[in-house]
């Protein structure tokens, strides 16, 4: 294509037309970057912090995924010996002295399921996804030197790190980590004697997540403040890329919902240690009645899901933003319906606060009240459908580059459609009577949240890897990674819909006592094998990632994707303060692809006379 040679001379442009903020006149901005420790460890530079979030997130993703493989082994091959894994799990594998068959202890199975959920939801898909890309892109795409408060930003990462250390430590407790499910419902979470993991394991879980919330709040305050206050000249809200809109609304959701979880945690801590009865009532343990009366476990569920449902959108919105950007860049077309995209993000954000009880249809909430939640829940499908429609329309007739980031972005759309549809099943309280707490729910949320959000994250990593590390990731490995993950993920989660419809409950260690579920043994084996293959592909990704950091193809051009957003006007080795001289000034929105016969027109290119005339005419 002739257009492909189109490049812009950013340096002169920014020099001539940029905004002078005198950033480089004084050097106090650079001083905290002077040595190894302040540069790479206690860094206040948003780009380094983004990488710290990413790498910590990847570490957790591997652990979380490995856990799922172990409990999938139990579900797929309950008879098979797990003795080979004893060196790793120690006493949690009991070996039968006569036969030599090693079995996973049920207590640890529950601990694994719980930790898998907690780790993936909070540490990987919240911190690893939103933490990484909000940090990287908010200042870069808005034309800011850094976050509003680089110091709080650094604290945000280190609180996450502290939370990580505590959670990691809890994995090695002799009583095991918390094992009552990632939602931590009482009484399992409120009574230290309820199960092995409910003692120290739960105490550490609460500590870890409280620090985690602090991290989210510090990060969120920064993201919001930066978006509203530090945009460069010309970057009006309606010119912001959709990534930024998504991160912005995500941060607002986090700031409004996580504190509610914290108040639930405080009450839980009081129940655990101070003898109160917020969530406990009339409980018998080993024949003896506990003194607690008058509490309500449903109250905890309300507090948890008031966070929990916004939380799933905290996870998916950044992925949606990334996907919108990647689709538009690699289809060489403006995103279809930019304003509709923004309004649907806002609508989803708003609605996500008034649907939480759809997780509690079967908890004994008043069926009359359920109706309201059914209606609001189903309304969320409308902005979701608007987004899907716009993504597909963006692709339609585009000059599509089928590279890895693009494949992942398209894969995201596919996953979001599949998982969103099953959400509509579940959103009907009558159908939920059958589906609740079955593998159908597991299938639903893994496809729509787990896999889709991971795809958004992969799209982002492959797309912005050059910006983060100055190198490209290997395309061949990337494509292999994509196809195995895409097909494999469907192979893992599609069959779960059938299992779930047949009524197989989730979170069961074994189905030996239910003859009617014997039919699914083969399917369960299939799922486990598929899961192992998908896991192997992720190892491939990790290898590709670290290999490319050091030996990947060098980035020679500042703007390899020929994208419009400002991060690609910064030098290849982006230093502190992001732009060397002046800041770029923004003249247009982020999606001028294929306009007036030009392949792309970056945001900092001034309007032509014709464009000005056109702008004035409406």
């Amino acid at each position: 294509m002739a257009n492909d040679v189109l490049t812009y001379n950013d340096d002169t442009l920014i020099k001539e037309q940029g905004f002078e903020d005198h950033f480089h006149d004084h050097h106090d901005g650079d001083k905290y970057q002077s040595n190894f420790v302040t540069h790479y460890i206690f860094s206040m530079d948003h780009k380094i912090i983004a990488r710290q979030f990413l790498i910590t997130g990847m570490f957790w993703a591997l652990i979380g995924a490995a856990m799922s493989i172990i409990f999938r082994m139990q579900l797929g091959f309950p008879e098979e010996s797990l003795t080979w894994i004893k060196p790793l799990l120690g006493k949690w594998i009991t070996v039968n002295a006569e036969t030599g068959v090693g079995t996973l202890m049920p207590e640890f199975y529950y601990a694994l399921v719980t930790m898998h959920g907690t780790i993936i939801v909070f540490f990987v898909l919240t911190a690893g996804l939103s933490g990484t890309f909000s940090n990287l892109l908010i200042p870069l795409q808005l034309g800011a030197r850094d976050m509003a408060s680089p110091f709080l930003n650094m604290l945000s990462y280190w609180f996450f790190f502290l939370a990580s250390v505590i959670m990691f430590y809890s994995l090695f407790l002799s009583t095991g980590p918390f094992s009552g499910g990632w939602t931590a419902y009482p009484p399992l979470s409120a009574l230290p004697q309820a199960s092995t993991g409910s003692g120290t394991g739960m105490t550490l879980w609460l500590m870890s997540l409280t620090f985690f919330v602090v991290s989210v709040l510090l990060g969120g305050i920064n993201y919001i403040t930066t978006v509203l206050n530090l945009r460069t000249k010309g970057m009006s809200l309606w010119r912001m890329p959709l990534t930024i809109w998504a991160f912005f609304v995500t941060a607002i959701l986090g700031l409004l919902s996580f504190p509610v979880l914290v108040s639930g945690f405080f009450m839980l801590i009081c129940d655990r240690s101070l003898g109160t009865s917020f969530f406990l009532s009339e409980i018998f343990i080993e024949g003896a009645a506990l003194p607690n009366v008058g509490g309500s476990p449903i109250l905890y569920q309300h507090l948890f899901w008031f966070l929990g449902h916004p939380e799933v959108y905290i996870i998916i919105l950044p992925a949606m933003g990334i996907v919108s950007e990647v689709l538009s860049v690699h289809a060489r077309k403006p995103i279809f319906g930019y304003k509709a995209m923004v309004f649907s993000i806002l609508a989803i954000g708003f609605l996500s606060f008034i649907v939480w009880a759809h997780h509690m249809f079967m908890s004994g909430v008043n069926p009359f009240i359920s109706n309201f939640f059914v209606v609001f829940t189903l309304i969320i499908a409308v902005p979701s459908a608007v987004k899907v429609f716009n993504w597909i329309t963006t692709l339609y007739g585009g000059n599509i580059r089928l590279n890895t980031p693009m494949l992942y972005a398209i894969g995201f759309v596919s996953m979001f459609i599949s998982g969103g549809l099953t959400g509509i099943f579940l959103g009907n309280s009558a159908i939920d009577i059958q589906m609740h707490d079955t593998y159908f729910v597991v299938a639903h949320f893994h496809i729509v949240m787990g896999v889709a959000a991971f795809f958004g994250m992969f799209a982002g990593i492959y797309h912005w890897f050059p910006k983060m590390f100055g190198k490209f990731m290997n395309e061949t490995l990337g494509k292999i990674h994509f196809w195995i993950t895409m097909i494999g993920a469907y192979a893992v989660f599609w069959p779960m819909h059938y299992i779930g419809m047949a009524g197989v409950p989730r979170r069961y260690y074994s189905f030996n006592n239910f003859n009617s579920f014997d039919d699914f043994q083969l399917l369960n084996q299939f799922i486990t094998v598929a899961a192992i293959i998908v896991f192997a592909a992720q190892v491939l990704f990790v290898i590709n990632f670290f290999y490319s950091i050091w030996w990947g193809k060098k980035m020679k051009d500042k703007n390899p994707w020929k994208a419009n957003t400002l991060e690609w006007t910064t030098p290849i080795n982006t230093g502190h303060g992001n732009w060397e001289g002046k800041l770029p000034v923004v003249h247009r929105w982020a999606y001028d692809y294929g306009k007036d016969g030009k392949d792309y027109i970056p945001q900092h290119i001034p309007l032509t006379e014709e464009e000005k005339a056109a702008e004035g005419s409406h």
């Binding site: 004084h26 850094d146 530090l230 919902s257 914290v262 108040s263 109160t276 008058g294 303060g577």
Partner: protein, 191 residues
């Protein structure tokens, strides 16, 4: 201040003050959760009724006065009246401490009439809500202590930077003050 703060062109709100307001939004959500859980739980019955200690009225008055004295101190700072500025800060600080002591006394009073934390969720809620609020007051007192150290160790002069710092403390303090007024009225009206 960090250099990166200066890169915004011509916007009026200070990013740090703005960040503080956002944080206040979070705090409101947290207490919103407590108080709505309170209402939900209360509606479910088995709810012990007891009279709120009168000391809460005194602590409310004290915290309201401390807001006024801090505002006076802030205004004095802007008008470069050093003595009033320092005095106002000190008095606000002492009133803050008094508030905490009164809250504690109120607790012991409740405890004395047998309403301890475990008796019934109604008392558990009261203790937890007042305790978490007290933690926020302690945060405010810490901020006041920093302000006082600045006031008494640095030579007195007026600068935008110092005014801004003072504003942070001032807004937060007014906020935790009003938060208490809300909580107190809430507890009174749900009796």
């Amino acid at each position: 201040m960090d250099a990166s703060l200066k890169n915004n062109y011509g916007n009026k709100i200070n990013p740090q003050l703005f960040g503080l307001w956002i944080a206040m939004g979070s705090i409101i959500m947290m207490f919103g959760a407590f108080t709505s859980a309170y209402i939900v739980r209360q509606a479910a019955g088995n709810w012990l009724e007891f009279r709120l200690p009168d000391l809460f009225i005194f602590s409310t008055v004290i915290i309201l006065i401390s807001s006024i004295t801090l505002q006076v101190s802030y205004n004095a700072f802007k008008q470069k009246k050093e003595l009033l500025y320092k005095l106002g800060l000190l008095i606000s600080f002492l009133l803050g401490l008094t508030f905490l002591i009164l809250q504690y006394k109120a607790w012991t009073e409740l405890f004395g009439i047998g309403v301890d934390m475990k008796v019934n969720p109604s008392s558990s809620f009261l203790y937890v809500i007042t305790a978490v609020h007290a933690l926020h007051i302690i945060g405010g007192i810490a901020a006041l202590m920093v302000a006082i150290t600045h006031a008494f160790t640095l030579p007195f002069f007026y600068s935008k930077q110092r005014k801004m710092r003072f504003q942070l403390v001032l807004h937060y303090w007014h906020f935790v003050d009003l938060l208490w007024v809300y909580l107190f009225l809430f507890l009174l009206l749900t009796r």
